[in-house]
């Protein structure tokens, strides 16, 4: 297999790995998978954390190795990079649609530095109402905030825009 064909196969296999915390999204949907390269038959997969302390990175690394092995691709090097810093702008439109269907409000708009105070407007992923309120900036994982819908009364997670 040429390096190029191997890279394509490795990329396809790695792109199928799901995020352990949000299993409805693949690491490609999230933008966590940055690159797959092959040089002289050696595969290198580059991933980046969403947050500095994201505890899922070790598991993602192992699962990338497993996915490659299942695809018959030999041991790869998984490299963790911090730069450029991950942003929700890298999340695919398909990923955002999957999140909403899963009950998590996807990040809204482009990442930009918000004012210290002042609320965002987040649509409820259950009923679509814009009448929602923030409960806490921090939710079940570092990347999510806790919100509540005033219309259908359901609580929901909001994937923070960073």
């Amino acid at each position: 297999m040429t390096d190029e064909a191997l890279a394509q196969a490795a990329r396809a296999a790695a792109a199928e790995v799901c995020d352990p915390e949000i299993p409805v999204l693949t690491i490609a949907d999230l933008g966590v998978l940055r690159d797959v390269t092959v040089r002289d038959g050696a595969v290198e997969v580059t991933i980046t954390p969403t947050y500095s302390g994201c505890p899922a990175m070790d598991v993602i690394g192992v699962e990338v190795q497993t996915a490659l092995a299942k695809a018959g691709i030999g041991p790869a090097r998984v490299r963790l990079v911090l730069s450029p810093a991950w942003t929700t702008d890298w999340m695919t439109d398909e990923g955002k649609a999957k999140l909403r269907a899963y009950g998590i409000a996807p990040p809204q708009g482009r990442a930009s530095r918000r004012a210290l105070f002042g609320e965002e407007s987040v649509a409820c992923p259950h009923c679509g109402s814009a009448s929602t309120e923030k409960i806490s900036e921090f939710g079940s994982t570092a990347c999510k905030a806790l919100w509540r819908c005033r219309a259908c009364r359901e609580p929901f997670d909001y994937f923070k825009c960073i």
Partner: protein, 258 residues
């Protein structure tokens, strides 16, 4: 008996990275002590989340520090095998959690400095520091917003919450000046475009505090003296207790993994 303790030859860059790493680890450790004890479930989760961000930043910084040291040490060696006098964190972050107001005031003071500090450090001439800063500044923005909103709620809340928030502010204020301190070694890195001068963050820090305290109906203490010494390893008695907890397992069973 052999010792498991290590001492680092601190070049100016290594000293800088250790200051930032130790601030992040000790603040993260303090916040993690709230896990399971938060005043309500949402806040318990929030404090644990902020702790996780801090420890994550510490890991990246220790990893870089270990690379700079060049002796094949790991991030864990730097966290678990340095004695109290080798720690370079400021005294503010090792102060006890106290009541919830004290934890929030400590977080506002730390974040009001760290948020603009990391944002400025994204322009560092050192690519690793710039990369760590680019992650950290997104996170500290949330820490500042969260803790500032709480301080406003406490200060502008009941008579009891106002009194406790003011008492915490009076207690912790003298520790805030150390955040803006530096020394000649750090100044050298500032001139080289690698480090941000902590003193240059003062206007942003003051502006944030003025706005938050006004909203919170709290008064900045008039004291001008400051607590200092953490950057050179002169710590309050609290850090020893933190390290006893943090380092116990690696000290009792050197190199243990699971």
């Amino acid at each position: 008996m052999t010792t498991t303790s290590i001492t680092l030859a601190e070049t100016p860059l290594l000293a800088l990275v250790l200051r930032r790493a130790d601030d992040a680890l000790i603040l993260g450790h303090r916040l993690s002590e709230w896990c399971g004890h938060g005043p309500m479930l949402e806040e318990d989760i929030a404090l644990a989340n902020i702790a996780l961000d801090c420890v994550g930043q510490a890991r990246s910084l220790y990893d870089y520090a270990a690379t700079l040291d060049g002796r094949g040490l790991s991030e864990d060696d730097l966290a678990y095998r340095r004695d109290v006098g080798q720690y370079r964190n400021c005294l503010l972050v090792e102060q006890p959690n106290g009541d919830f107001a004290a934890t929030i005031v400590r977080q506002v003071l730390a974040s009001a400095f760290l948020d603009p500090y990391w944002r400025a450090t994204t322009a560092s001439a050192d690519p690793t520091l710039a990369a760590i800063a680019a992650k950290a500044e997104k996170e500290t923005a949330y820490h500042l917003r969260h803790s500032a909103e709480w301080l406003i709620r406490l200060g502008d809340g009941t008579a009891e919450s106002h009194e406790r928030a003011q008492a915490a502010l009076d207690d912790l204020w003298p520790y805030s000046g150390e955040l803006m301190e530096s020394d000649e070694a750090e100044a050298e890195l500032v001139r080289a475009g690698i480090a941000v001068d902590p003193a240059a963050i003062r206007p942003a820090f003051d502006a944030t505090l003025a706005m938050v305290l006004r909203e919170a109906t709290l008064t900045a203490p008039a004291v001008t003296w400051r607590q200092s010494g953490g950057r050179t390893g002169r710590h309050s008695e609290h850090l020893g207790f933190i390290l006893a907890d943090l380092q116990y397992l690696q000290r009792a069973h050197p190199g243990a993994t699971w």
